[in-house]
Symmetry: C2
Subunit: 403 residues, 2 copies
Amino acid sequence: MEVSEFFVKLLAIILSAKLFAEVFARLRMPSVLGEVTAGIVIGPSLFGFIQPDATFHLLAEIGILLLLFEVGLETDVGRIIKVGVQSTLVALTGVVVPAVSGFYIAYSWFDLPLIPSLFIGGTVVATSIGITVRVLADLKKQNTVISQIVLGAAVLDDIIGVVILAVLYDYAVKGAVSIADTVRIVVFISVFLLVAPVIAKLFVPTMAKLSETSRTKGMIPTLIISMILGLAVISHKVGAPEILGSFAAGIALARRFFLPLGSAIEHYSHDIAKKIEDSMTPIIDLFVPVFFVMVGVSLNFRVIDATSGAFWWFAGTLTVAAILSKLASGVWVTGGWNCKLSTGMAMVPRGEVGLIFAEVGRRNGIFDDSVYAVVVFVVAVTTLLAPLALKSLMKDLPEECSI
Amino acid sequence: MEVSEFFVKLLAIILSAKLFAEVFARLRMPSVLGEVTAGIVIGPSLFGFIQPDATFHLLAEIGILLLLFEVGLETDVGRIIKVGVQSTLVALTGVVVPAVSGFYIAYSWFDLPLIPSLFIGGTVVATSIGITVRVLADLKKQNTVISQIVLGAAVLDDIIGVVILAVLYDYAVKGAVSIADTVRIVVFISVFLLVAPVIAKLFVPTMAKLSETSRTKGMIPTLIISMILGLAVISHKVGAPEILGSFAAGIALARRFFLPLGSAIEHYSHDIAKKIEDSMTPIIDLFVPVFFVMVGVSLNFRVIDATSGAFWWFAGTLTVAAILSKLASGVWVTGGWNCKLSTGMAMVPRGEVGLIFAEVGRRNGIFDDSVYAVVVFVVAVTTLLAPLALKSLMKDLPEECSI
């Protein structure tokens, strides 16, 4: 790509994201939906000005890292642990029910072969953690009990989704699954998630000292971005999604994160907490929308053959199943139906992980174009519909799940 | 490039830049030299961990845009105009003397054909505006008279360099030069440089209003980056280097920029000047080092055949000429020899433009590998040597050129 072409396209992404986000916000809709819509408009679905290109894909990945970092920064680990049992039940239900129903529909009702059916099951598993946390933030509900449950569940969900993808991929390619490998990945990820924030936290005093004594500009953003990238890379090495690394970095730097080591560490971190926030906010605000625009760009509606009755029948059934099966996961939440439904609805959006599944499936010849189009449709509808439904569901939550 | 490979390499770039910059600063050397050295160390010259890859090249381009934006932001147009005559004389001398001596050495002493000799002349013309402004800032001399003269001259120099490249390229490819095209480019660039800041300035009230009434986060950095990218693209369209667009954007938003329209505009801009600075500083501090690291990565010393006597003879002669011919440009500056020498030395670093010339030359078969290596050598020595020389020259400047 030529430099000036890159600049024009980056400009289009940044400006259209802001324009649509602002319009959606003024129409009282979640602004994240505006950003995805911007991607649909400038992407191959409509104007085709931006293609799912490697460079913007990489910039989008920085965006989602930074979003999860920001979420981690505002996360109160204590509160997440308090609702841990509910989170785990929501996550497990939200994995098993969609996977089984997706597989069953593809295999029994639409007569797909075994492996594509398993992949369909995998595709509808993972909640889009990005869309979900942004919608909750857009609705200013990120501090409710429901949000804590959903955040915990979405993180678990993401891990399980990645493990399932690894297992299914092995099965599809090698015809066998290694239980030992799977267990090892799960153990690695668990250890990483427990240990990473603690180790990262231990660096905070050094970071504070470096930023005080530095002779060059920009020490804080450099070190924070380095920590985010470093943990993302380690996370990938242990077999977990990269975003868990940046989430861990955020948790480590959260004001509410306490270590048994106590006051010495807190003394420093309070000192630089504001500096970190001030210097990271503009960077986050710049990159995060690139991610959501690129989600919209990836949703290429042109792959859909709208004249095909078979397409609508399969896509419609699978979409309904994808929604209902995630709604079911909310049943474990204490509180009224509103609380349960809101939780379930927050788990509905599939996004990047579903699209990655679909891409892997297509590239390896597991999905043909028509099945790929069905998956894109499911991802698109759940991504675009859930935020709107969530908004009206969460308007008047009972106190038991909204504190 | 895989996502995790991208993250690892980005981490290497950011961390090595900061490490070397910090070490150089503590050794009382300009930190920008540390960043270039970081690129030499992790690039193909030494460890080969980073190659001059397209994605990082594009990120580096954002870095140089942001650097020129920052320079523009701190530029007092009035002071630049006041030293305009001296700037113009420095720029013209700094173009003519190096071009003629470079051409003459290649053509008469080393018997190169006409077109490669002309290209050699073009290569040694353009001062690296990036290196120069960063060195002056590192030395905390960016507000001296000399800096104003050098900044004006470097900008003019850059424009002339681009025009020469366009003309030489046409001559090399088509065998003829269109005077009309050349004049048109020069007129376009001049009009752009005069009009762009004024028009950009007119957007400031709108920007202030949008940021006040926005329902979404990050309106200021989004709009500023959009303005920078937009003006860079327009700048490219009129035939000027992209960095002039971002420089114009910076000038437009500078606190010291005044329009005849007066108070209404100033009222707003004072209001948001601090917001702009706060939100742009971390983004600038993050991206700018990527540019200098990539300059270091582009300086591939492995293309040099150090055992060749012919190489050293040609490279040495050309380097001495490249340095002396730019030093001569300082003769127009009022003040003692120190003032004149400092100005000339500030014009010595060749960098990105020289390398672009060399690349264009190589890709079009105008330079063979040995001539290309000579050019890389000249760029490297002038880039690495001038900042150090400048530091000792500028230590005790007389008052007449240091206010």
